[in-house]
């Protein structure tokens, strides 16, 4: 009797039959409306890549404006039309670009593209399950994301342009249509897309949680799970508990926009129409509370999967067990709890009661403890390791470097007294791009290089991988390091043209340098994209099942596994995932029974 029947969680529903006749599937059910978690994961990844190119290109456009505020680029007009008349990006469009860049990268790339790809790929494969708890919901999760993408894209092509009030969508810019062109239809499309996105994310997370808790193979206790799975688990829990709160904030916003309520609006005079709005008694700060209650957990939704993958990849490539497995799980747990208790550190200057602020300072700085534990454990894991510098390993190491650099500036910002000076300056931009943006991208790249053979049965090109890594690492620091100085000098974020200010004129050349580095880094990402698509078809073929000599279960599946993952029974697990270099044996897969004279096992 196969495990499939033994395991009650998959023993019903039509998809069971699908396991057995997948070779008869048509193109549509195999590649488009597929319920196979491996295919859905590729769909998330490729959609994420497309979004990353779009979002990255936007940043190149607005960096051109920031680096060369005096110049014109006629070719911009050819691409962007009336948004860049005369070759210079218009003010309204500049704000739209910044807003879309933030929204797209935070939500569509680093949430859907990262979690969606790797939770889908790795959860069933690493816990030993044939698929997700509900393959149907899983498929819907992708298609809601796809719908969200279509709606978001369509807002780029409307007359009044996409939403332009910043990725955090604070009212009144997001609530009152007359505020700016981007506050009109663009906002409605933005909110619709985000609502679809929230549904997609919830469906996905529900599934991840149910699968991890219910569908582990025989012997796979929670404490034998690879750290990747723990990370995906906490990510999903954060998503399930925080996205609905964002959703409630959006609903109130929709009411204010369309039904004349005053949740967020009070005593507003609109310049463009010379009218005073009738709304009274609302509070824009209320929105900020609802937004950041999601917003802060969201940054960890983005970071945790990268942490999990970096842990796994570093242990495999250092040929050493992960140091402090339980401490790693414990600190992820602590991070997940604290993530819900610190949202007001984004609101220190909103008139928050300083007494209350003191608690948020304390709780915020507490995050440094589990963060430091993780860093310590990563460093001790590679300490005296027998390191294999694959591109994946390099990106995992780069992740740790970026996490340290960006985490340190968080400690500055977490002190409310310092934050009064630093809030809304380039210091914050530097902080979160390093610690969240680039670090999570590095985690994602590490994951792609590492699991590409599992996804496509071929390897990515290493040389291009090394160029991609070193180039991106250098560019990332050249772009974001100087921004700390600009921020300390008080240079505010979200301005269109800094050359208008005497005090910021000194940064003219620095801004040029940043722009050049940004363009180079964008081109380097195209190297990655080329490598990715080229290798799908032409990459070096994977000839052995377990190329990295890794312990985890995904490498026990056939090179091109069908729906159901294992042709025969699902293997049983006898040990944790990190028996590297134990008793002089290089690696012992999880499926290996414990030997008679093995030293104490986990």
């Amino acid at each position: 009797m196969s495990e499939l029947v033994l395991n009650p969680t998959v023993a019903h529903g039509a998809h069971e039959t699908a396991h057995h006749d997948h070779h008869e599937q048509g193109f549509v059910s195999k590649y488009i409306f597929s319920m196979d978690h491996k295919t859905i994961s590729k769909q998330f990844l490729i959609t994420g890549i497309v979004w990353a190119i779009i979002g990255g290109l936007f940043s190149v456009f607005f960096r051109l404006q920031l680096g060369y505020p005096e110049s014109t680029f006629p070719w911009l007009e050819d691409i962007l039309g009336r948004w860049a008349e005369g070759g210079r990006i218009k003010q309204e469009f500049y704000y739209a670009l910044v807003t879309m860049h933030g929204t797209v990268l935070v939500f569509f790339v680093l949430t859907a593209g990262l979690s969606g790809t790797f939770s889908n790929l790795l959860i069933p494969l690493q816990i030993g399950a044939r698929d997700m708890a509900s393959p149907m919901l899983n498929m819907l999760s992708y298609w809601f994301f796809f719908g969200a993408s279509i709606v978001m894209i369509s807002s780029l092509f409307i007359q009044t342009g996409p939403f332009s009030g910043g990725w955090t969508a604070y009212p009144p810019l997001s609530a009152v249509g007359d505020m700016s062109p981007g506050s009109k239809l663009g906002v409605d499309l933005w909110i619709t897309a985000m609502a679809l996105f929230v549904v997609s994310s919830l469906l996905g997370s529900l599934n991840y949680i149910a699968t991890i808790l219910n569908m582990r193979t025989k012997g796979m206790s929670m404490t034998r799970l690879p750290l990747t799975i723990w990370a995906f688990f906490f990510t999903a829990v954060l998503g399930v508990l925080s996205f609905p709160v964002l959703f409630s904030g959006f609903i109130l916003l929709l009411f204010d926009r369309n039904l004349g309520t005053s949740f967020y609006l009070s005593e507003i005079y609109v310049q463009s129409t010379q009218t005073a709005l009738p709304n009274e008694g609302g509070s824009a700060i209320l929105y900020q509370h609802l937004f950041w209650f999601l917003g802060h957990p969201e940054v960890y939704i983005i970071l945790l999967p990268a942490m999990g993958m970096a842990s796994e990849i570093m242990s495999t490539n250092a040929r050493k067990p992960i140091f402090g497995y339980m401490a790693m799980v414990g600190s992820m747990f602590a991070i997940a709890i604290l993530a819900f208790l610190v949202w007001a550190h984004h609101m220190f200057v909103t008139g928050l009661n300083p007494f209350l602020g003191a608690f948020f300072v304390l709780l915020t700085l507490l995050i440094a403890v589990p963060s430091a534990i993780k860093v310590f454990n990563w460093l001790t894991t590679i300490w005296r390791g027998n390191i294999r510098f694959t591109p994946a390993m390099l990106f995992a190491l780069g992740f740790v470097s970026l996490f340290i650099s960006g985490g340190l500036t968080g400690i500055f910002l977490g002190n409310s007294a310092l934050d009064i000076h630093l809030h809304d300056t380039y210091f914050v931009i530097a902080h979160f791009h390093i610690v969240m943006g680039v670090a999570s991208f590095f985690g994602m790249f590490a994951g792609v290089y590492h699991w590409f053979p599992k996804m496509f049965g071929r390897f990515m090109n290493n040389t291009l991988g090394y160029i991609h890594f070193w180039g991106t690492l250098i560019c990332a620091y050249v772009i974001f390091w100087p921004m700390h100085y600009e921020g300390l000098a008080g240079m505010p974020r979200r301005y269109y043209d800094y050359s208008q200010w005497q005090s910021f004129k000194q940064f003219g050349e620095l801004n040029e340098l940043i722009t050049i580095a940004a363009i180079i880094s964008f081109l380097l990402q195209l190297v990655f994209v080329f490598n990715f698509f080229y290798s799908i078809f032409k990459g070096r073929k994977m000839l052995v099942q377990n190329p990295w000599e890794s312990n985890t279960l995904e490498w026990t599946t056939p090179i091109n596994a069908g729906h159901g993952n294992w042709p025969g029974e699902i293997p049983e697990v006898h040990r944790w995932a990190y028996d590297y270099g134990k008793d002089g044996v290089d690696f012992i897969p999880q499926t290996e029974p414990v030997g008679k004279d093995e030293s104490t096992h986990h």
Binding site: S134, M215, K218, V240, P244, S248, G249, F255, G281, F293
Partner: protein, 187 residues
């Protein structure tokens, strides 16, 4: 062995997690409510008594839903279908009563939305309105199950769908009781 220890059906488990998620959305609303209530310009008002009657109706519908589950477990299809129908009708009655409550408030001069509305009224509209959408979703599920139970092609004696639906239905019921008590005493 893991597979045998786990008694809870995966759909029910997933629904539990989803319930936590829905609860968070309403927690978002009610905490926003508390924050706003403590600020200036808040106009408190009493809920019309029809909201209390509606609460009784939805409580009753939970009882009929539970009876429906009991009957499908003992393969008593006739009673099962009838009870499903009664539950759905009670659900629709609940929606109608909530709507009537909105209209009565409007007649008393308390605007919920639009010009002249106060945040307190708007919150009622949003909170009760979102809850009504959840109830409506439950009614759709009940009608779907009724359809399945009526036609021999789709008939199925498994109690699982009914149990999952009941879990959801009790959830929206308890959710409303929480919201009702909250609106009654916090405003």
């Amino acid at each position: 062995m893991t597979a045998e220890k786990k008694k809870i059906h995966p759909y029910k488990f997933t629904l539990w997690v989803a319930m936590g998620s829905m609860l968070m959305m309403f927690a978002g609303f009610t905490s926003a409510y508390i924050v706003k209530r403590n600020q200036a310009n808040w106009q408190g008002f009493d809920l019309p008594s029809i909201f209390a009657y509606g609460t009784v109706v939805i409580l009753l519908s939970s009882v009929t839903m539970q009876l429906a589950v009991k009957n499908i477990r003992s393969r008593n299809m006739q009673a099962y279908r009838q009870l499903l129908l009664v539950t759905a009708i009670l659900g629709i009655a609940f929606l109608a009563m909530q709507w009537t409550g909105f209209i009565q408030l409007n007649e008393r001069g308390i605007r919920l939305i639009g010009q002249g509305s106060n945040v307190s009224g708007s919150f009622l509209a949003v909170i009760a309105g979102m809850h009504m959408l959840h109830v409506a979703g439950g009614i759709v599920a009940l009608v779907w199950m009724l359809r399945n139970a009526l036609f021999s092609k789709t008939r199925n004696y498994s109690a699982v769908p009914a149990e999952v639906a009941a879990q959801y239905w009790h959830f929206v019921d308890l959710l409303w009781i929480y919201l009702f008590v909250f609106l009654q005493f916090v405003s």
